[in-house]
């Protein structure tokens, strides 16, 4: 429920601001740059979509916002939540635990593996309520049953005492959403929340998320590979490729005026229900492995418009095309000033 007048103010004071995030994973073969130079922000009540193919770094980015990371990851940059920098917080310290689950919550891809099979659904939902909202068990149970009812689980009093194996996939995902929303978070990170579900159930869950967003006014970061869902759910989109945001724009810009060759290729390679095409335009080749990669455009090998000697010689800077449309591609500038960087 965002009023038009509020929007400008919210742009200036986003809820969550990611600045120049880098996540490097040392591995046997060398340094794997999982995420480099990622920046974005999100305002109250808005939905940001992070899209990309497997291995592009979208999930690890989402988890970093909660301070969950692989042990050996080397992270730099900042994730500002209010005036707290989440990256700087001590792992599992008091401060991050006060935020995680309460202010920022997450929905995972596989609801079946996100719940422990040994505890009842109710038990797992009240865990975070007891931690953040109340110490009274009866009161917590009431809140949990209430939230289960609101995500559309019928007979929540009975469901509360059931174990995960007694739930179907769609019900589990609802329970997962209930668990994430139990503490009324300000930011919800949804990592492929409907990928494991059937289309009719997916439609139910997406409707539910939209409705709950209106009710609670939370910001949603929607991590997905499905451009259909992006078109439907998101206000703004960040397209990731090989650990970098290659293009970022409002959703209509991305679909109607894509600038980066990867975004264009991606849009052309999906079969659209409304169109009649004999052949799909595919992107040739496969995603390279980002270990020990020289500073160059990550999409270089697969790009039809690549410029030899330019795109493979240096890192591509972010170019601001319009107020809220940025792209990382030399076709759209960023070449002349500063000369070749080492």
């Amino acid at each position: 429920m965002v009023e038009a007048a509020e929007t400008a103010e919210q742009q200036a004071h986003p809820l969550l601001r990611v600045e120049d995030l880098n996540i490097h994973l040392p591995s046997d073969g060398g340094l794997l740059k999982a995420v480099s130079g990622v920046s974005f922000q999100i305002a109250k009540g808005k939905t940001l979509g992070i899209v990309g193919e497997s291995g592009c770094g979208k999930s690890i980015t989402g988890k970093t916002l909660l301070g969950i990371q692989p042990k050996h990851a080397v992270t730099s940059g900042s994730v500002w939540f209010g005036d707290v920098d989440i990256v700087k917080l001590k792992k599992n310290g008091r401060e991050i635990r006060a935020i995680r689950g309460s202010k920022i919550a997450m929905i995972f891809q596989e609801p079946m593996t996100a719940f422990s099979p040994l505890y009842t659904i109710g038990n797992q939902i009240i865990e975070s309520i007891l931690l953040h909202r109340t110490r009274n068990k009866q009161e917590a149970k009431g809140m949990a049953i209430d939230i289960l009812r609101r995500v559309g689980i019928s007979n929540p009093e009975k469901r509360f005492n059931q174990y995960p194996h007694e739930f179907s996939g769609g019900m589990m995902q609802r329970a997962m959403i209930a668990m994430a929303l139990a503490c009324e978070p300000e930011v919800l990170i949804a990592d492929e929340p409907t990928t494991a579900l059937d289309v009719t159930i997916q439609a139910q869950v997406l409707e539910l998320m939209k409705q709950l967003q209106q009710e609670f006014g939370m910001a949603i970061i929607f991590i997905t590979h499905d451009l259909g869902i992006v078109a439907e759910m998101c206000d703004e989109v960040a397209v990731m490729y090989l650990g970098k945001v290659v293009e970022q724009a409002p959703v209509r810009e991305i679909f109607h005026n894509p600038k980066h060759p990867y975004t264009r290729g991606l849009l052309r390679s999906i079969p659209m229900i409304g169109s009649r095409k004999e052949r799909l335009e595919s992107i040739e080749g496969t995603v390279p492995i980002p270990i020990n990669r020289a500073p160059m455009c990550g999409f270089y090998e697969r790009c039809k418009d690549r410029i030899a000697g330019v795109c493979d010689a240096q890192d591509v800077p972010q170019v601001q095309l319009a107020e809220n449309h940025s792209v990382r591609c030399f076709l759209h500038g960023g070449r002349s000033e500063g000369g070749v960087q080492p």
Binding site: T200, D226, L267
Partner: protein
């Protein structure tokens, strides 16, 4: 309507039941079997792509596997038309006939990581069907494998390597080469592109189409992704709880579905166009348990148009003309929304 091509596989009254047990332990009592497929009949025409769509548990994979005899059906017939005009019921075929039809009906599987033996080289994987079924000489097999690898975009040097060295897209190419090396007439593609990233998915779909054109292959394409199905198929069969509830030409089905479940299924697909505003039909509830299907029409508990009749009588699959079959009591009365009419373009 396009001209009717000759029928290559004729499936009659296919039934697959799984025994089920209530409770556990020593005194478990046998109960009514779970019907994964009940009385499914349809025909595949030469060179076409027929897609099977439906949600998990609707029996689409079971149907594909029964057809290729990956699992044995409980009853029914799969009549295969050989090139020289004989008719063989594949489900009863033995020895020589079995080998003959097996070469003609092949499968491509969903998971490119699980469907290739990690201890076999790519050459061994691709050549195995020929070694098992064809009786060709070693040099002939060699030629066929190399030819097939070339056509599926696999480099010759790949043939000596093991599957772990390949990405998902390349593995799926290996799976396709293995399925097509016997020059089959019918290929069952069970979610063949579902596990792949979109940019790779487009490459594989194009490859499947090219190979179809070259060898006049018939595909039975099993998928839950309706945008892919729309793109690749000539006809679509919609399944629900072990039955085909609607079968129609692709364009027709998307323009005007005649079963309420088809309508809801089509409208549930998110369309990649932010300007499209759709009145989405969100179905209530979930797919019922096939061990205990609802009375009458299996879809009635979720159907917005249900009447008393639907709760009592199971609607048969009726021929509506124009190559369309629908299993709904009110197929003629209902006017349902297709997707085409919703997309303003």
């Amino acid at each position: 309507m396009k001209e009717m091509k000759e029928i290559i596989v004729d499936v009659q009254n296919l039934v697959k039941e799984y025994p089920s047990q209530d409770g556990g332990g020593l005194f478990r009592k046998a109960s009514a079997p779970v019907k994964a497929l009940s009385d499914v009949s349809f025909a595949l025409r030469k060179g076409e792509t027929l897609s099977l769509v439906g949600e998990s548990g609707c029996g689409k994979t079971t149907l594909g596997r029964c057809l290729a005899r990956g699992i044995e059906a409980t009853s029914g017939q799969v009549n295969f038309q050989t090139p020289d005009g004989r008719k063989i019921d594949f489900l009863k075929a033995k020895q020589q006939e079995f080998k003959e039809v097996r070469q003609s009906i092949q499968m491509i599987f969903q998971d490119p990581y699980a469907s290739l033996n990690p201890r076999m080289t790519v050459y061994d994987i691709i050549s195995e069907p020929l070694r098992a079924l064809s009786g060709l000489s070693k040099t002939e097999i060699d030629e066929r494998v190399i030819e097939m690898a070339r056509q599926t975009g696999l480099n010759n040097s790949f043939l000596r390597r093991y599957p772990h060295a390949f990405s998902g897209g390349q593995r799926q190419r290996i799976g396709i080469a293995r399925a097509l090396v016997t020059r089959p007439k019918v290929v069952v593609c069970d979610e063949a592109v579902s596990a792949l990233d979109v940019s790779i998915q487009a490459q594989i779909i194009n490859l499947l189409k090219d190979l179809q054109r070259e060898y006049e292959i018939t595909y039975l394409f099993i998928s839950h992704d309706l945008s892919v199905v729309k793109h690749i198929s000539d006809r679509i069969a919609v399944m629900y709880l072990g039955r085909i509830i609607e079968l129609a030409e692709t364009e027709e089905l998307f323009r005007r579905p005649m079963h309420p479940y088809s309508e809801a299924l089509l409208s549930a697909v998110p369309n990649p166009d932010p300007d499209r505003k759709v009145e989405r039909i969100v179905l209530q509830g979930e797919v019922p348990n096939p061990a205990n299907p609802p009375s009458g029409c299996h879809f009635h508990p979720r159907c917005p148009h249900r009447t008393e009749l639907c709760e009592k009588a199971l609607p048969p699959l009726q021929d509506m003309g124009g190559g369309r079959f629908v299993a709904c009591h009110y197929a003629n009365e209902l006017t349902l929304q297709g997707v085409e009419s919703l997309v303003a373009q």
